[in-house]
């Protein structure tokens, strides 16, 4: 329901994006010693945002169906290049992944705080109705 408010939608998309990215980073870290493993990453969120808000069709009639355009398939960055490739063909650099993970966590914290602030603002609006 609160998805209808665009900030909530954007922020929850962002949180979802960060979650998916975190699982990819975990995958890279887990494969730090797997021969031939190629490190994975997502395209930046700004790019994902373009696919999040496509021009949708309006439902002007009761029998119109509106497609669910919530996009959770964030695109993988196929041109991702890691810092180095080990002799075994492994592309994961733990340091790089740790930096990405820390970045990711910071952004998640920011998104969560934004969400919280926005709820507080909504509450403030509601509490004026006495």
């Amino acid at each position: 329901m609160i998805d209808g408010i665009s900030l909530f939608q954007t922020v929850s998309q962002k949180m979802e994006y960060i979650g998916v990215r975190q699982s990819l980073i975990a995958q890279n870290v887990a494969h730090a010693d797997t021969p031939g493993y190629e490190a994975k990453d997502l395209k930046p969120f700004s790019e994902a945002l373009k696919t999040v808000r496509p021009a949708g069709m309006l439902a002007t009639h009761g029998r119109h169906m509106v497609a669910n355009l919530g996009n959770t398939d964030f695109r993988e960055d196929t041109h991702h290049e890691g810092w180095e490739v080990a002799p075994s063909g492994n592309q994961v650099t733990l340091e790089e992944e740790m930096i990405d993970a820390a970045d990711n966590q910071r952004e998640y914290e920011l998104a969560a705080q934004l969400m919280k602030k926005h709820v507080t603002m909504l509450k403030a609006t509601l509490s004026t109705r006495t």
Binding site: Q22, L24, A26, Q27, A30, H31, D33, T34, L94, K116
Partner: protein, 137 residues
Amino acid sequence: MDAIAATMKIASSGLQAQSVRVRMVSENIANANSLGSAPGADPYRRKTIVFQSEFDKVLGADVVGIKKIGVDPGDFSLSYDPSHPAADAKGYVKVPNVNPLMEMTDMREATRSYDANLNMIEQARGMAMSTIALLEG
């Protein structure tokens, strides 16, 4: 399954793989002096481990698995000890192809990867906690 729970599962597969690796290392170190018992018999052969990525259908992600636990085909070195039961006709005993320095390096690397995986779990938990904190106040 949501991404944060998946993150923890993926990282735990990494933890498990690395702990098997440490087990192999300790097996090698423990057997660094395990010689044969019959004349000319082969001593302990160093074990090696290779990881591979396995697709987990439930998680929809690649987890780590163990491809194979093999043996190091490297040559045994010889040490002169005619009184040993494993000594050959010339008095030489075959010694395991375990190099303690190499095992220690391998162990350090495994520990480092283990820590990194543990770090991922901790971060994912922190993220889950800040989501739960949205319920507060």
